[in-house]
């Protein structure tokens, strides 16, 4: 038992080691090749610099990665996050909008609905999107990829209908604070991520949710036999993922001061999955690390910024990202083989089967 614990601990160390290593490599590269990359300065009490910029830009992706980690840990996948992001952005932008009014001859923009109401509605709709995914996948047992494919296809259409095919520009200034405001010298969105991450970590570490999640991700059938309410947990994962996408949508809308249902969050689901994979999580579910995914999101954003900064055409980012994933997967599959071999040595029962698997 003790050796097992030691091995587990080593594996957990391992999981965070690789994402951090990748981040370090990228940052070291940036340090040498991009002038003033680590330069930080304080302008009007706000901290500015490439590093802050990366963290700030990565916040929507971090939210998506947190939600995606839970879904992937449960053995599923959520490819609808980009569309949910677009829906949430569209709703919040449309509800806030900003009507021009003149007060004493000075022009003001007033929100159509109170900002909190708009955000609340957008988040509720996002959670409903997540619940819909949960209904298909957890309740009806549809393949996760196909189940979320429905919302991926429909969601963008729904977002387009909400904004009636237009790009909605927001004029109401307090709304911009979410995506581009500063609090105590740092971008406000960083605090949002930190708070949300804290909440999720509490949920995972201090309640049984994390354990249950790991259990159903590793083996759904046996978890059910143990008496876990598998459906409810999966449902929760998809709802959280929807919520994350909703928050990300609001941040994006606030950052660009508009909602573009056509282009908001296109392909971001892939970046989210990439972040999760980069975070050392297994796509097969089970053991997971939310922190790892957040670091993964940072790696993705650093990579993007680096590629922009060194003046390579931005489309190359896609090639680099893909190659990075392939390499990571190759490493993972090598390690997987080793673990299989190790178990084969210890358990005589399934030896034949596992070696066959390892060979294949």
């Amino acid at each position: 038992m003790e050796t097992r614990n030691k091995m587990n601990r080593r594996l957990i160390d391992h999981q965070l080691f690789w994402p951090l290593f990748a981040l370090t490599v990228l940052l070291v590269f940036d340090f040498f090749y991009i002038k003033g990359f680590f330069h930080l300065e304080i302008i009007e009490g706000h901290l500015y610099g490439s590093l802050i910029d990366i963290v700030n830009r990565a916040t929507p992706l971090m939210f998506l990665a947190i939600g995606m980690t839970l879904v992937i840990a449960s053995g599923g996948i959520d490819i609808s996050v980009g569309s949910v992001l677009a829906i949430s952005g569209a709703i919040s932008a449309l509800m806030i909008g900003g009507d021009l009014v003149f007060v004493d001859g000075v022009q003001h923009y007033v929100a159509r609905y109170p900002i909190l109401v708009a955000i609340f509605v957008a988040l509720v709709v996002s959670v409903i999107c997540g619940i819909w995914n949960g209904l298909l996948i957890a309740k009806l047992g549809v393949n996760a990829m196909v189940g979320t494919l429905i919302l991926l296809v429909a969601g963008r259409g729904i977002a387009q209908l909400i904004v009636d095919g237009n790009v909605i520009t927001v004029y109401y200034e307090p709304f911009f604070y979410i995506g581009s405001g500063f609090f105590l010298g740092l971008p406000f969105s960083i605090y949002l991520v930190a708070a949300f991450l804290g909440l999720i970590m509490w949920l995972i570490k201090k309640t049984a949710f994390g354990l249950f999640l790991e259990s159903i991700g590793s083996n759904r059938v046996s978890s059910r036999f143990t008496g876990l309410d598998v459906q409810k947990i999966m449902w929760a994962c998809y709802a959280i993922s929807g919520l994350c996408a909703g928050i990300a949508g609001i941040i994006v809308a606030s950052e660009v001061k508009s909602a573009d249902a056509n282009n908001a969050g296109v392909f971001i689901e892939l970046d989210a999955i990439l972040s999760v994979v980069l975070g050392g999580n297994s796509m097969a579910g089970g053991r997971f690390s939310v922190i790892g995914s957040v670091i993964g999101a940072l790696v993705v954003q650093t990579l993007t910024t680096t590629i922009y900064a060194i003046g390579v055409p931005p489309e190359i980012t896609m090639v680099v990202k893909a190659l990075v994933v392939i390499v990571i997967y190759l490493i993972q599959s090598q390690m997987g083989k080793k673990t299989v071999k190790r178990t084969v040595k210890t358990s005589a029962g399934e030896t034949a089967l596992k070696t066959q698997e390892a060979k294949a």
């Binding site: 494919l149 429905i150 296809v153 209908l161 999955i273 896609m318 090639v319 392939i326 997967y329």
Partner: protein
């Protein structure tokens, strides 16, 4: 009993065909000029590349995998074809050959990663998609026109079937691919192996089927087919751009599922994909004929259909599983 089982296998396909007929009938009743041969043929003309990728998508889904790279491969192949002809002055035959080689190579590497390196098909083909899109922009960031006389003549060629009803050369290519796929799926060992692997990989392996070879070959074929679709896409667009055929893979998957291919693998008909594409097309046509609807309703309608079909599939699978449980009792009787 046996008859009933065969029937249940055909149910999704029959629903799809019936739905197509119903949609067409509804359109014919509601809109003047809808009921014509050309409307149906235009579905083929405008969607021939989609039909081709939907065929290979169905095959891959039957195998138990998924191929997300086909849209990006179409963009890449049109880019390779356009660039090699306009900038490298290659003759069209060589350009087409280059396209097919590049796409097959993509498929092969993806298949290899999935089979021998245990990549999830989703991840491997996703990487393929990223790389293909990125390569497009590495080759050229702008729209590259295709002016080659052969391509232009293929693009403008119309074959008259009857007065007032014509099809393009792309349709012929799509139909040839359909015939090829039907032959492969139902009349070759390779096709049977695909169904077997999709049904249950472990038992296919234990039966002594060449599982690994089948998988690699199937993905290579899928890449090759995407190349063909890319060339057809060239005939259709006469230009190449890195963002062409965006999210086409989703349409192809939707078409395959609507066409009755089970996402769990092992069950389906490649011809179903054709009807899946036709249904997607006819909904688009209906919305165009209606005139005052936002074109985004097409996406929502496709998603709705997808949803209905997936739920129907689930019900069918659950029924089959229930049947399986009863079987031992029958055996004793």
């Amino acid at each position: 009993m046996k008859n009933l089982q065969i029937n249940s296998k055909f149910i999704p396909l029959l629903i799809t065909i019936a739905l197509f007929v119903v949609l067409f009938a509804a359109g014919s009743v509601s809109y003047r000029g809808f009921f014509s041969m050309q409307v149906v043929l235009n579905l083929l003309v405008d969607n021939s590349f989609l039909i081709i990728v939907a065929l290979s998508q169905a095959m891959i889904i039957i195998l138990g995998g998924i191929d997300l790279s086909c849209g990006a491969l179409i963009a890449l192949s049109s880019m390779v074809a356009a660039y090699s002809m306009s900038h490298l002055n290659l003759p069209p035959a060589l350009a087409i050959l280059a396209v097919l080689i590049v796409c097959s190579l993509f498929g092969f590497v993806q298949g290899w990663l999935i089979t021998y390196r245990k990549f999830q098909p989703f991840i491997a083909t996703l990487c393929g998609m990223f790389i293909a899109r990125g390569l497009c922009f590495m080759i050229n960031q702008d729209t590259v026109p295709i002016t080659d006389p052969f391509f232009v003549s293929m693009a403008t060629m119309r074959i008259k079937l009857m007065p007032g009803a014509t099809i393009s050369s792309s349709v012929i290519i799509a139909l040839v691919m359909l015939a090829l796929y039907i032959y492969i799926a139902h009349y070759t060992k390779f096709g049977r192996a695909i169904y077997a692997v999709g049904g249950n990989e472990q038992s296919a392996r234990l039966m002594g089927l060449p599982v690994d070879r089948t998988k690699v070959l199937a993905y290579t074929l899928s890449g090759f087919t995407s190349g063909i679709a890319g060339i057809v896409f060239c005939f259709y667009m006469l230009s190449a751009y890195g963002l062409n055929a965006m999210a086409l893979e989703m349409d192809a998957i939707a078409a395959a599922v609507i066409g009755g291919t089970l996402m769990t693998g092992g069950v389906g008909f490649v011809i179903g994909s054709v009807f899946g594409v036709m249904i997607e097309g006819i909904m688009q046509t209906l919305i165009t004929f209606q005139g005052d609807l936002n074109s985004w309703w097409t996406r929502i309608a496709v998603a709705f259909l997808l949803c209905v079909f997936i739920v129907v599939q689930r019900v069918l699978v659950l029924r089959r599983e229930a049947k399986k449980r009863i079987r031992p009792v029958e055996f004793i009787e």
